[in-house]
């Protein structure tokens, strides 16, 4: 029998329902797996005792016939979600010792659905990074290894700890957040399904803010079905988040039965970049063939402003971040490094508390908002954003979903690209347009690279049409038949 920690979310759910094992059994397996996976450094805080308490409470609920959609399922939570009574760091030194007296809306939804928290996962500091190499708590290792190459690889970022934990079979699912690709790119790097919902689908309340107009929570899982189940539990209107949208949460799992016959799938020519690896290009062609074979029609479309998306993103996101991170001043919580004057205290606290990448983005953001540069940078970026959304709106008049690669490469070695921020930022080139336009996107593992590393395909859907997007993703998943496993699986 498969070890409990290796079960998919749906299989674990069904096994719990049938009484094959208890939530406590399942949680104990995950706790053991978490301990075995420590070399990956996927967790900042492990909460095994809380997990067992929650599992026992779950078993008690089930005994009374009260079962939620995620009843008894252990999950890992990105350390950007505030969790009541549990250290929350955002991967940063500046939040030293910060224990929130409140629970984020998304995690509260998960616990209400019966899920069990196993721990808080490592991440790029304040979600700024694409390799999980900016965390104050150290790098996360990708459970995958290249063929004949034992160098540790990055898991992608910023939700790298969540991705590593799910890929290593510690848990069937984990939460992530995606501001420019922080769920989808690590999913692609670790052979997972990563879903960024439509902006406004999940509440941002209680999630440490990076870039408010782009941040969105979503699930990292090993299957499309698990993604659908978990999204259903995370999503929902929240009056405490003014940008949350009051629209009913459909049964996403039920949407997977439809198939793609008759759907039109857009293939944007602008995503065919100069110098793109041939294996990415050929995987994309394969994806097109799979969908056509399943009865969809593919349509060549143009998203003419795509080339401006990455520069616009690297203006908007730092601008908002520079303001969002102003509250970490040493006055009320987290780290305070004393100084002789108020200004010295600010400088010492923020100087010590923030890492290099966060400082870089705070400075970029401050610069693009400053008098005399605002129009040239921030306002221009906002205009670009409007044009990018218009590109998509026009495309979606002709197609039902869009297929692209998720990332321009497979996972790379820890330490690579560290000296070149621009090369690092290029990781997000295919993912940021969905953030800038607020559209949902999902990455599905589709193949192995020549080095034996996972590569993902991305489906972008219409706003609040996660159902069609999931259907397309499900068909890709079936066609790809991706069953490769990482070099490291917890407990084996």
């Amino acid at each position: 029998m498969t070890r409990l920690n290796e079960l998919s979310l749906a299989a674990a759910r069904d096994g719990l329902a049938k009484g094959d094992f208890s939530a406590k059994d399942l949680t104990q397996a995950s706790i053991a797996a978490m301990e075995a996976a420590r070399p990956l450094n996927a967790f900042i805080t492990e909460t095994p005792e809380r997990a067992l308490d929650m599992a026992q409470a779950s078993d008690a609920r089930r005994a009374k016939g009260e079962s939620g959609a995620l009843e008894g399922i252990p999950l890992a939570i990105k350390d950007l979600f505030c969790t009541q009574g549990v250290l929350t760091t955002a991967g940063s030194h500046i939040l030293d010792g910060f224990i929130p007296p409140y629970e984020s809306a998304v995690t509260a939804n998960l616990w209400r659905a019966g899920a069990v928290m196993l721990g808080k996962t490592n991440m790029d500091e304040f979600a700024m990074g694409s390799a999980n190499t900016t965390s104050y708590y150290g790098n996360v290792e990708n459970p995958w290894r290249g063929r004949g190459d034992n160098r540790p690889l990055v898991p992608g970022g910023s939700s790298g700890g969540s991705a590593a934990a799910v890929a290593a079979r510690v848990v069937p699912g984990a939460t992530g957040t995606d501001t420019g690709g922080s769920i989808r790119q690590p999913a692609s790097f670790t052979g997972l399904v990563g879903l960024k919902p439509t902006y406004g689908r999940c509440s941002r309340w209680g999630i440490v803010a990076f870039a408010s107009s782009l941040d969105q929570a979503g699930p990292l899982t090993r299957t499309v079905r698990d993604s659908a189940i978990m999204l259903g539990a995370m999503a929902g209107y929240d009056p405490k988040d003014s940008t949350s949208v009051d629209t009913p949460v459909p049964d996403y799992e039920a949407a997977l039965t439809g198939g793609v016959r008759g759907l039109k799938i857009g293939i944007p020519k602008e995503y065919r970049m100069d110098g793109m690896a041939e294996e990415i290009e050929s995987l994309w062609r394969e994806g097109i063939a799979w969908l056509e074979a399943a009865g969809a029609t593919t349509v060549d479309i143009s998203l003419p402003h795509t080339k401006y998306a990455l520069p616009a993103y690297y203006i908007v996101a730092p601008a908002e971040a520079s303001s969002n991170l102003a509250r970490y001043d040493g006055v009320r919580y987290g780290l305070r490094v004393p100084g002789a004057t108020l200004e010295e205290m600010y400088e010492a606290t923020r100087g010590d508390g923030f890492g290099a990448e966060v400082k870089r983005r705070v400075m970029i953001g401050t610069y693009v908002l400053s008098a005399g540069y605002y129009d040239a940078y921030y306002n221009k970026a906002r205009q670009v954003r409007t044009l990018i959304l218009r590109d998509f709106t026009q495309a979606f008049e002709k197609v039902d979903a869009i297929l692209t690669p998720t990332a321009p490469s497979a996972a790379f070695a820890i330490g690579e690209r560290m000296d070149d921020p621009i090369a690092m930022y290029l990781n997000d080139i295919f993912t940021v347009p969905a953030n800038l336009s607020g559209l949902p996107g999902i990455s599905v593992p589709a193949a192995l690279s020549g080095e034996g590393l996972p590569l993902g395909l991305q489906v972008i859907g219409r706003a609040f049409d996660e159902e069609t997007m999931l259907r397309v993703a499900g068909v890709l998943e079936d066609a790809a038949g991706f069953d490769a496993e990482p070099a490291f699986v917890a407990g084996r």
Binding site: W205, S242, A319, L325, A326, D329
Partner: protein, 485 residues
């Protein structure tokens, strides 16, 4: 136009005001925390107000309603779409590291306010805009020798910033502007206007110029917290700037502070130290979009405002501009006045106005209480006026009755009854007293008979005294003359 005489000639002073008015609302602009004045430090602070990680602002609709009502009361343009932006700067009592405010697209645009000036004159001052913003917390520097304490109770409280055009030309106009604005805010119920509690504060922008010339360089004196101080700040700044220029110097554009102890302003920071606030639309909030019908409904529901009430009092009750102005300055006074006049048949409006602005205001002042706490309501004062009118008591007695009413809270009739103050209008009774006074004072009676008119008053006084003030003075006069002819 009032000019200031300098060493080298006349100068005109140009003033614009930015008033920060705390909106009357149960909760803060973007959180559910309470807003009561005087609460223990840090007891009215939500997670949002303390800027805890991951907290998000949610707009309080009451604040929007109050701002729109105020805009309507200032005859200003209501902007159906407005945008909240972030004003970024670091300060320990600003937990978010930014203040949420409105910048490029405020909720209220241009309007006007009419000043009531001495001598019944009036003048219009333009309103540039009104926008909503969060208040900051309070830094307490005097609680510890080396550390600063922070009280976040005010953090996030809704303020309306009301910006005037530079249309004022004297300290007197500044006083009239603040009084009128406060009166309108109180009528609307959108701000208490209590400057001593900090619920209304102003920044005073002053510049000077030779008559007919372009505007001069201005200074901004921040956070002035009384009308008197605002006037003093204007006078001080005008003189300082004129002296500066006349002595061959120039006015520097800067932010200044008013020192109430010295009655002077002093430099706080210059233009080169000005913050770059890096305003940008707050991504946590959607633009505020108002429904035109909702605005129209608010407009229909507005109370009668001071200008309209004053005009109605002048036309309907034949009051002077001055009396009407005094009565309408506070909504409660105007309501009290109307209740007195309309509470009984044939009451005289002018007489009611005199009693309110005279005896009643004096008593309120002495007791240091507001009108709503007066032991004498409109019904009771009306009752007193009725007793004067129907001759039950004399005007002189009425003053004593008023004092007794103030002391006891009883109505006029009861006091007159209890103290036996009823005016004696019985001819026989008065005649007896008159006869006795004449008999007791034969010398004075003779003097009158021989043509000394003045002595009559003395004799009337003796009779009133003998009657304990109760004799009807008209009848006393009449009878005395009859007897002495």
């Amino acid at each position: 136009m009032s000019m200031i005489q300098g060493k080298t000639g006349e100068w005109e002073v140009v003033i614009g005001l930015e008033v920060h008015a705390q909106v009357i609302a149960e909760s803060k602009l973007f959180s559910g925390a309470a807003t009561a004045f005087g609460a223990e430090p840090n007891t009215q602070v939500s997670l949002v107000d303390a800027a805890m990680p991951g907290m998000l602002p949610v707009l309080n609709e009451k604040s929007i309603e109050q701002a729109v009502k105020t805009g309507l009361g200032l005859n200003a343009k209501i902007n159906l779409t407005s945008v909240f932006e972030r004003k970024n700067y670091f300060y320990p009592d600003l937990p978010q590291g930014y203040q949420i405010s409105q910048y490029l697209e405020p909720i209220v645009g241009e309007g006007a306010l009419t000043l009531d000036l001495p001598g019944g004159e009036s003048k219009d001052v333009g309103i540039e805009r009104l926008h909503l913003e969060q208040d900051a917390g309070k830094s307490l520097h005097d609680q510890h020798p080396s550390q600063t304490y922070i009280d976040l109770n005010r953090s996030g409280v809704t303020l309306m910033e009301i910006v005037s055009k530079p249309d004022m030309r004297s300290a007197g106009e500044v006083g009239a502007y603040l009084e009128k604005l406060r009166s309108i805010l109180r009528y609307l119920g959108t701000c208490t206007g209590n400057m001593e509690e900090g619920s209304m504060r102003c920044d005073v922008n002053v510049s000077v110029r030779r008559p007919g010339e372009d505007l001069g360089i201005r200074t901004e004196t921040k956070n002035v917290n009384s009308i008197r101080f605002a006037k003093l700040a204007v006078e001080y700044e005008a003189k300082r700037q004129i002296a500066q220029i006349e002595d061959g110097g120039a006015v520097v554009q800067e932010t200044r502070l008013f020192d109430p102890d010295k009655g002077a302003t002093r430099a706080m920071r210059g233009k080169e130290d000005a913050h770059d606030y890096r305003y940008f639309p707050d991504p946590d909030l959607l633009p505020v979009v108002l429904d035109v019908d909702w605005v129209a409904e608010l407009k229909r529901g507005l109370p009668e405002l001071p200008d309209a009430k004053k005009a109605r009092f002048m036309a309907g009750f034949d009051l002077s501009a001055y009396d009407a102005g005094v009565l309408v300055a506070e909504r409660e006074t105007a309501a009290y006045f109307e209740a007195v006049v309309e509470g009984g048949q044939g009451r005289d409006a002018k007489q009611a106005a005199n009693w309110i602005t005279g005896a009643l205001f004096a008593a309120l002042n002495r007791a240091g209480v507001e009108l709503d706490a007066a032991p004498l309501d409109a019904d009771k004062l009306g009752g007193l006026l009725d007793l004067i009118r129907d001759g039950t008591i004399s005007g002189r007695t009425a003053k004593d009755v008023f004092d007794a009413m103030w002391e006891s809270g009883k109505d006029a009739g009861t006091i007159v009854e209890e103290k036996g103050l009823k005016q004696i209008s019985d001819t026989g009774a008065i005649e007896a007293i008159v006869d006795k006074v004449i008999a007791d004072n034969p010398g004075q009676a003779e003097q009158f008979k021989s043509g000394n008119e003045k002595v009559l008053g003395w004799l009337v006084g003796q009779i009133m005294k003998a009657s304990q003030g109760k004799a009807n003075p008209g009848m006393v006069n009449q009878l005395l003359r009859k007897k002495l002819v």
